[in-house]
């Protein structure tokens, strides 16, 4: 018991220590560059929408998993219910190692090891929250997903039943619960992002031999079907 207590104190101590530095050193300009690592999944700034991840406007002071219209992992919802709020200190721990703070999060991101990167990133993100109110809104930075896919392909409507059958091939590696140890979660993505990602593998623009091979033999309807299916697959 004493040991456990000591360990808990050590952890608390750590968070407090990072928190105090978090307030002091962040450089939002440098943070904008760090943010590129996040922009594949998250938008921030005017007009930002939920994509694979929720948008990050107004995140400071917000209860975890509380943005309207985004389906969070059960683990994140639970963390919010247990009182997790986003501030410099909690964001710092989360971004350092997402799964250490919230073990069941779907955020497939290994974490930022360097403390300076985290501080800069947090300073950057803080510009998009009302609090403190005296920080002016910055230019829109929501990064549009970069692609040159034929709009006709994006407009295809997928058959979720066919998608369910095809998905059995994905589920050997990608867990239907949304768990993501070592292999990213692919459930509840916006269909558009899913289709763009799969075509990027198919056209060998995104690197990864297994995914290039799997996407390579799926046709446009099949990719649309998978997107339709996974977009609605709620974590069991």
């Amino acid at each position: 018991m004493r040991l456990i207590l000591q360990r808990m104190l050590a952890v608390v101590g750590l968070i407090v220590a990072t928190a105090s530095t978090a307030d002091e050193f962040g450089d939002p300009k440098a943070g904008k560059k760090v943010y590129r690592k996040c922009s594949g999944c998250h938008q921030v700034g005017e007009g930002a929408r939920h994509r694979v991840g929720p948008h990050l406007n107004g995140i400071f002071g917000r209860k975890a998993a509380s943005h309207e219209g985004f389906k969070y992992s059960k683990a994140m919802v639970r963390a919010g219910d247990n009182g997790l709020e986003w501030h410099a200190d909690t964001l710092d721990s989360f971004v350092e190692n997402p799964r250490a703070l919230t073990s069941g999060t779907r955020m497939s991101f290994p974490g930022l090891r360097k403390q300076k990167d985290r501080l800069d990133l947090i300073a950057y993100l803080r510009q998009f929250s009302d609090d403190p109110a005296n920080i002016p809104e910055a230019d829109p930075t929501a990064s549009p997903v970069d692609h040159d896919l034929d709009p006709a392909i994006l407009a295809l409507e997928g058959d979720p039943e066919y998608g369910e059958y095809l998905s059995s091939e994905c589920k050997t590696c990608h867990q239907s619960s949304g768990g993501d140890d070592g292999i990213p979660s692919i459930i509840l993505w916006p269909e558009e992002d899913f289709v763009i990602a799969m075509h990027a593998y198919k056209n060998k623009k995104r690197p990864h031999p297994v995914m290039q091979m799997m996407a390579g033999r799926l046709n446009e309807e099949e990719i649309a079907a998978l997107a339709a299916y996974f977009a609605t697959l709620d974590n069991e």
């Binding site: 066919y162 050997t172 590696c173 292999i183 033999r217």
Partner: protein
Amino acid sequence: MTFNRRAFIGTSAALAATLAAPMVRGQGKPRVVVIGGGAGGATAARYIAKDSKGAIDVTLIEPTRRYYTCFFSNLYLGGFKQMEDLGHSYGGLAAGGVNVVHDWAVGVDRAAKSVSLAGGGSVPYDKLILSPGIDFVEGAVEGWDLSAQNAMPHAYKAGSQTELLKAQLMAMPEGGTFAMVAPPNPYRCPPGPYERVSMVAHFLKANNPTAKIIVADPKPKFSKMGLFQEGWADHYEGMVDWIGEDFGGGNVSVDPGAMTVTIDGEVTKVDVANVIPAMKAGRIAELAGVTDGNWAPVNAADMSTKADADVYVLGDASSQGDMPKSGFSANSQAKVCANAVRGALTGSKIFPAKFSNTCWSLIATNDGVKVGATYEATPEKIAKVDGFISQTGESADLRKATYEESEGWYSGITSDMLG
């Protein structure tokens, strides 16, 4: 795991109680019986029960109460996994509507469409799926038979054999010799023996660095050979002596009493001998009369056997064409089969067969490699479409990411099989 009379007699009393269960069935529902709750059988049972939403009565016959995966069992030898990490219960399948019967299937009457159990009862079926894995070809390695598996373990079925091999590895004297007799093609998990060599070397390098590993191999080359040999040279220089077919690696006999291995006439006293004999389909496939030679030939479109349209064989026991015998392959074949069986019994839509496989192997800490391919069904066989393999000289970061990916795959496939 050939049939052991003692085990039957020992457990039959306890089994009598559970036997009542399979005899009570839903009224008039189509019945699927699956023999073997491994990578192929568990997946098939789970998908049929899940997707038919109660319209099909699914019974799984599997003697063990926990499934220990062969996949990652080499990592246990290397010290990267614990035995508990490899064991999985059948509770998830039962909760998913599968009637799990812990017993051995000892016979299949294809005319009467029923399976007899070691415990004494029998279970009728409309469609029967066999996924019994492998057994060993008798007399394949001179001097070795199943009675020698304690002195010279195969550890090619996971569980107590794997633990035994690890215990022997740990007890090796300083500077001792670990010998492996590798199997001829085809066998389960083509990179398996060589991943094992890597994991044994990893263990010895840390605990017994002057020890040696000899591999007697009847094959001239093996899966991911370039990658493994590069890894052995980089991480375990001078420790591994691989003797291929060209140097008499196929001319082997063993003496379990004297603990010697004779390779091309040269007798070597060894401390551990890991004998992995030639393999064949699990014996129940032969008893069911669906094998031709060592394996059960199947149709690629739905995994039904050439011998009987109502009997299907999945995974290692099947002879299907180009897919390697792996857990990934068995899981992939099971989904194609589940879709076809459900369609045949309930009229649900049958989609075209698609297969895939990827095998990851660990060479040393954070040094993972992989090989994979996609396949399609042709009238003759399951035929390879496209493939890839890790390259020699890859960056340490990529190798680490590959290893982490394999851990993700392990969580993925075990929950996909067992719920």
